[in-house]
Amino acid sequence: MTAIPAGIEIPRERRAWKARLFLATCLFATTLAVAMLAVLLASIATKGLPWIVDAEAFRASFAEGGNGLAGWRDWIRTEFFTEYASRKPLKAGIKAPLWGSVWVVTICALVALPVGVATAIYLEEFAGRTRLSRLIQTNIRNLAGVPSIVYGIIGLTAFARMFGVFGTGDDETLSIGDPDGFLYLMLPFGQSVLSGGLTLMLVILPVVIISSQEAFRAVPASLRQASLAMGATTWQTVWNITLPAALPTILTGTILAISRAIGEAAPLLVLGVPLFISNTPANLMDDFTVLPFQIFDWAKRPQADFQGLAAAAIVVLLVVLLSFNVVAVVIRQKLHRPLS
């Protein structure tokens, strides 16, 4: 028999009391975070929604005899989406920055996903634990913490100016194709959507790589072994087993990174992206502007109307962000559907 030393018994009430205190602290922290977010959303919505939704027409539409949701054309202020920037608040819209943001983020995602996943595959499935791979690993982790404005400088040097190898003036650029058509390429890329997208890609790439690596690490080693033991090559194992198993997690991480890219302004500021643009991009080489620029421009003006427009643009930004998340969830569900 083991002799249990008597010691001093801790009163039960005291232990229960401590447990309650701990629970209360956690609840308080959660409430605080949620409440702050709610206040923020409420204040933006009250300021911004009147610029997106015509309140009277909205009421009329949902009153008796109205068209309800189907008659959205009557109560949504479509000019907010179809007009370019203007000095008159009632005529101002977000057409250029909205489309600019969509273009830039699409380019960013299309480049960051394959490059990031391929890097993660190399590091996790092929490289092994060598000194070189540890060095790369450490550097990627450090890069994830580099302020985004630094990437703006890299983007400016590497993409917008291409280290000056094609000259520095506008006349000395090389170009292929018709500047008005969709297939148009010029070197260097200048302040184009391609430059912007690639620069934002640099910003999110480390995060995409790290989250993809985590996804690969979460795939059970037993599956890899089973595949290898049947004579699969490493590539066949990655393509048939590891990648499909890791893909849902990879997409979640990538979408979170892209959400960050939508809100980025600093690297594009360094790139020299203009604010006032009166066209939407027609090809990869076109000028563009993004929603955060427009929001900042309106928010810094003293007139209340522009404050409202800024809030409305924030609402749109949040909706775009949310729809990206919805797309990610849908893709994930599709990929993850259980085998019937």
Binding site: L223, L228, A229, M230, G231, N240, S340
Partner: protein
């Protein structure tokens, strides 16, 4: 004397290609016949039986730790050979060298000689992908892919060759029959393999290994995660499979080794203490340590 005990007539033709126990891919045996060297009389082998795997002075290291010391062991073809010994004795390590799965472990090295059908398994230029097609493996924990039952079995064949639908269907059925699980899953081939019970999953993993047409099956404690009934099913299956395959099984279960194996090798602290006919190992082993282990005095 019973008159019924008539010796087999010499005029009866031998079974087709007895040296190539591959009932699933008949065209392979033809290729092997072309490639195979002329049969040599088994004069040097200690017993008259055919040796599938032979280790000579085989040692293995993980980094600076020596896991196996000078193992010399012959594993006969189309017999069940059991590796027994306490945890960490090196039996699994040895098993995983036979299909070179240790290559995936950084720092794993081997010395000495290890051959399969006389071919060196350790040379640097050895095609491990081809080797693993010939040496199937079943793991301790059932590890079916998160795919359908059909796709699990078809996975291996699809890696190695392009097959039309009918041939593939046929191969999947034969493999599942070979692993004695066809009747249980034939109506839900396209359901997830993860919905099967542990014992069924393990038999599916055996079917999956059979589908690539191996000569040797390595089993690393295949029943340790299974209940007694599933264990019995697997053991029964092993007895059937051994007619066509060379089976090497690592087990912690002494009764299992006694039940299923023809030969038993006892490993202790990285050394092969004794290997012999299973009956002899369990009744009158030559080594004191073997006797202590099989009678449960340690381990």
């Amino acid at each position: 004397m019973m008159p019924s005990q008539v010796s087999e007539s010499p005029t009866v033709p031998p079974p087709a290609t007895p040296g190539h126990p591959d009932p699933f891919l008949p065209h392979r045996s033809l290729m092997d016949e072309i490639a195979a060297p002329a049969p040599t009389p088994p004069a040097v082998t200690p017993t008259a039986e055919e040796i599938a795997i032979r280790a000579g002075g085989f040692s293995s290291w993980y980094g600076s730790f020596q896991a196996l010391h000078e193992i010399s062991l012959d594993i006969p073809a189309r017999k069940v050979t059991a590796f027994i010994g306490p945890s960490g004795c090196g039996k699994s390590t040895f098993l995983r060298w036979i299909n070179r799965m240790n290559d995936t472990i950084p720092g794993a090295k081997a010395g000495g000689s290890l051959t399969l059908d006389g071919e060196d398994l350790l040379s640097a230029g050895r095609d491990v992908v081809e080797l693993r097609r010939r040496v199937g493996m079943v793991f301790q924990k059932p590890n079916p892919f998160p795919k359908s039952i059909y796709d699990n079995v078809a996975y291996g064949p699809r890696l190695h060759r392009k097959l039309n639908r009918a041939d593939l269907d046929d191969l999947v059925e034969q493999s599942l029959r070979g692993a004695a699980i066809w009747d249980e899953v034939k109506d839900r081939l396209h359901a997830s393999a993860l919905g099967l019970s542990g014992g069924q999953q393990q038999r599916l993993c055996i079917a999956r290994a059979l589908a690539v047409g191996p000569e040797v099956l390595l089993m690393d404690e295949p029943c340790s995660a299974l209940d007694p009934r599933s264990t019995a099913a697997i053991e029964e299956l092993i007895e059937r499979l051994v007619e066509n395959f060379t089976i090497v099984i690592v087990t912690h279960n002494m009764q299992q080794a006694a039940r299923v194996s023809d030969r038993t090798a006892f490993f202790y602290e990285g050394r092969l203490i004794e290997d012999d006919e299973t009956e002899r190992i369990f009744t009158k082993p030559r080594e004191r340590r073997t006797e202590d282990y099989v009678t449960g005095r340690f381990g």
